[in-house]
Symmetry: C2
Subunit: 308 residues, 2 copies
């Protein structure tokens, strides 16, 4: 039996706490600490809602570890600086930051600098999750491997947010008046981050360069006239990525339609539950991350992900 | 523009010819020859049924190439010897040999020797295709990445062979009398090779070691009392792999059902057409094969496959 990998959880929101609990369940991983300014000093057992004996408290200071699971932000600029600090401590990093799916798309200089730092410290960094990270990018990219030709791709994710965590419902504006929705949309807090990134991830994988993407977002109204959630669409020539996340959305599913030779029409009934699957992706990718050459990677540069 | 990779096609059955045609379509690949004792001396243009001008004839001799696409056999013992000869010529190899999905499952010594040869000659070898290679192994393995826990997996492929190439119909015994079927079954020519391998590929990926698999096969009879095809099942504790290939099979599909946290229920309507997808897999995996460290690999050890 090899020694378990030491893992530190950075960021203790819903996803971060779930990832930390999953680390606690895995015999090949050892949770050596959890870091979040919001919870400093509070017992880990309580913050993680962990039913068994668990020593330690949430800290400010980052303990020595082999791997950091980073869940603090959706924005690459913030993530890049935090990841750089973790890399300088010699840690491999998995981040849930949505814009880390394709970092150079957001800040080429910061991405190049983080890649250089990774090589210097002989560690790797990758961004993943369920969306972005899996259902709208890694999975459709894999499916194209079975195609001799690809004419067009339509990826659609329909989520009934009534079945999901309250934070996600707030994120899509559920319960707002249309005017409140417009105000929050203008403030930039409602948009799902990463839809265009998912489209570009697949476009880049299949060699469609310089794709011109436009994205639009609109509220979906409920019977009470209030906002039930959003419909967000990214499209480019022959590529349509649609995300519908609202209360009561019918036939929740993940759907991928490739027109090509052969055509492929895939449906995941009820969709992949993001609240559960994102922590799984973050933890399951660790072996592939450690096996990769040092550097800042995308999911296309790691070996086949699977349950670990 | 980098120089195209030189590819030689070894074996010119249905799949081999389709792979060679696909190589001809790809600007980053150059078909430098095709080898098959059955067609020696015949014009490539005619053997490949290629509508454009194409020089050259099928040869016995293997020309210098960077990559060989090997489509001659389902059996690992035969494939291993042929692949060793290609590796000694300095070629990376992709093989459609079904048992090459998990070579060490069939002949540990030959697999170890081929791996050593690959390292010596600084090239890589992998076995792939649509089944095995994609729908019943690589794809379900990837899906488990989104799971915190996996309780059981049920993979089912239903193919209406009436819509597929005649060779596949013969392979599943379509048109035989039940007595002829039994005779051919006893002779070992009817079984789909690779079903247990696909199950074991996923079991190994998710860390379920020493899985005890049993496989059974039975004819499916048509209304005329003749054999329409086969139903073949491999099962192990909490793992069921079912393959139904017969004329008139209703609702053709690829289906993957993971009971776990979260559960995942995926359906590919009409299934992935193997006659088209196997050549695609063989050709699309080439970039990942060349990027891998030298050695004999499985699909789990290569970076994410995608259209190339």
């Amino acid at each position: 039996m090899t020694k378990p990998l030491r893992v530190v959880q950075v960021g203790l929101g819903d996803i971060g706490r779930a990832a930390a609990r999953l680390v606690l369940e895995k015999p090949h991983l050892q949770l050596v600490g959890a870091v979040d300014p919001k919870f400093v000093g509070r017992p880990l057992m309580e913050v993680l809602d962990w039913p068994y004996r668990l020593e330690g408290v949430v800290t400010h200071h980052i303990p020595a570890a082999d791997v950091a699971i980073h869940c603090t932000t959706s924005r690459w600029e913030t993530a890049a600086d935090e990841l750089a600090a973790l890399v300088r401590l010699g840690m491999h990093c998995v981040t849930s930051c949505e814009q880390a799916l394709l970092p150079d798309q957001h800040d080429t200089a910061r991405a190049a600098e983080l890649d250089r730092l990774c090589r210097e410290h002989r560690v790797s960094v990758v961004g993943t999750g369920v969306n972005p990270g899996f259902v709208m990018d890694t999975l459709p990219a894999l499916l194209t491997a079975a195609c001799q030709r690809v004419h067009s791709i339509h990826v659609r994710r329909v989520v009934d947010v009534a079945t999901r965590r309250p934070a996600l419902q707030r994120k899509v504006g559920a319960g707002l008046t249309p005017a409140e929705f417009d105000a929050q949309l203008a403030a930039g807090t409602l948009r799902h981050v990463g839809l265009t990134d998912s489209l570009l991830f697949v476009a880049r994988a299949i060699g469609w360069e310089d794709v011109d993407v436009s994205e639009k977002i609109e509220p979906v109204l409920g019977a009470d006239g209030r906002v039930a959630g959003v419909r967000q669409v990214a499209h480019a020539p022959n590529l349509v990525w649609e995300l519908e996340m609202y209360r009561g959305a019918p036939e929740p599913r993940d759907e991928i339609h490739i027109e090509g030779v052969p055509p492929i029409h895939l449906v995941i009934r009820n969709g992949v539950a993001g609240d559960l699957a994102t922590p799984a992706m973050l933890v399951n990718i660790i072996p592939q991350l450690l096996a990769a050459p040092p550097g800042l990677h995308t999911m296309a540069e790691l070996c086949l992900p699977h349950f670990a």
